[in-house]
């Protein structure tokens, strides 16, 4: 098993090295003539006003929140799905209950308007 992940590790190193080498080659080939206008922030030619770190709406957070809940649920569903063929009817009943609770939560979020983009 661990040799499989040794491959993944080597693959990851290669996959980071390839773009790095590409950038090094490009660095050698390309022209370098910076000037302040070129390097300014691109906002359709307007001068940048204010800080970039503008405050974001909490709406983004609500989506991330519901996502986290369903993502954790995936960590439970996948082992269950792998084992499911060998399990009795109780596995089905328990999963229906598990999903029903989550679905209830989704319905609540829906009713409260957490799924609306405003």
């Amino acid at each position: 098993m661990q040799s499989q992940y040794l491959f993944i590790a080597i693959f990851a190193v290669v996959a980071l090295a390839l773009p790095a080498i590409g950038l090094a080659v490009a660095w050698a080939l390309r022209p370098k003539k910076p000037n302040p206008i070129k390097n300014s922030t691109y906002e359709c030619g307007m001068e940048t006003i204010g800080e970039t770190w503008v405050q974001f709406r909490a709406q983004y957070y609500l989506y991330a929140l519901i996502f986290v809940v369903f993502d954790v649920e995936a960590a439970f569903i996948f082992p269950w799905a792998v084992a499911y063929n060998q399990l009795g009817l109780y596995a089905l009943v328990e999963m229906i209950l598990f999903v029903a609770i989550l679905f209830g939560g989704l319905m609540y979020a829906w009713r409260k308007g957490a799924l609306e983009w405003r």
């Binding site: 709406q59 929140l65 993502d71 954790v72 996948f78 082992p79 209950l97 598990f98």
Partner: protein
């Protein structure tokens, strides 16, 4: 071989963890935290827990760190570099943390831990799935309830009123 990987991973993870607690820029701290999570996924591989390694990447890196980054973005002023990183008691706390580490390390290296001769189940993931609806049926359902309650609570707290 395995020991070499362990040492490299430990160096990476611990130095990234130190960066998490000391970096002034919070967003950088969040990216260092992601590196720590990757390192820990590596340890899980070394411990023959591949499922946990993937879940670590999926949930900690995919979900929890996204939440943390959103929290940093949503609370604007914390980007202020003039603000001090630490509170006034940080020297004391640092000593305390070092002491805790020394004590824990001293204790854990002295105990003769029991070892097992059992072998890994042939298909650990299948076994885990069966356990979730078998031995751990109650925690399994409670986990679902916990997640939904947390979601409802967080929606109520974070919703913009009016």
């Amino acid at each position: 071989m395995e020991q070499l990987f362990f040492i490299l991973l430990a160096l990476l993870t611990l130095s990234a963890a130190l960066m998490v607690v000391t970096t002034r820029n919070l967003l950088h701290a969040a990216f260092w935290l992601i590196l720590v999570f990757f390192g820990i996924a590596g340890f899980f591989i070394l411990l023959h827990a591949e499922f946990l390694a993937v879940v670590q990447v999926l949930i900690y890196i995919g979900a929890i760190s996204t939440l943390i980054i959103f929290a940093i973005m949503l609370t604007r002023r914390i980007m202020d570099p003039q603000q001090p990183r630490f509170n006034s008691q940080w020297g004391l706390v640092g000593g305390l943390a070092a002491l805790l580490f020394v004590v824990l390390a001293a204790v854990t290296t002295r105990v003769a831990w029991p070892t097992t001769s059992a072998t890994l189940p042939a298909e650990p993931i299948k076994q885990l799935g069966a356990d979730f609806v078998g031995v751990y049926a109650v925690p399994f359902e409670v986990a679902s309830v916990l997640l939904v309650v947390a979601m409802i609570g967080a929606i109520i707290i974070a919703r913009e009123r009016g």
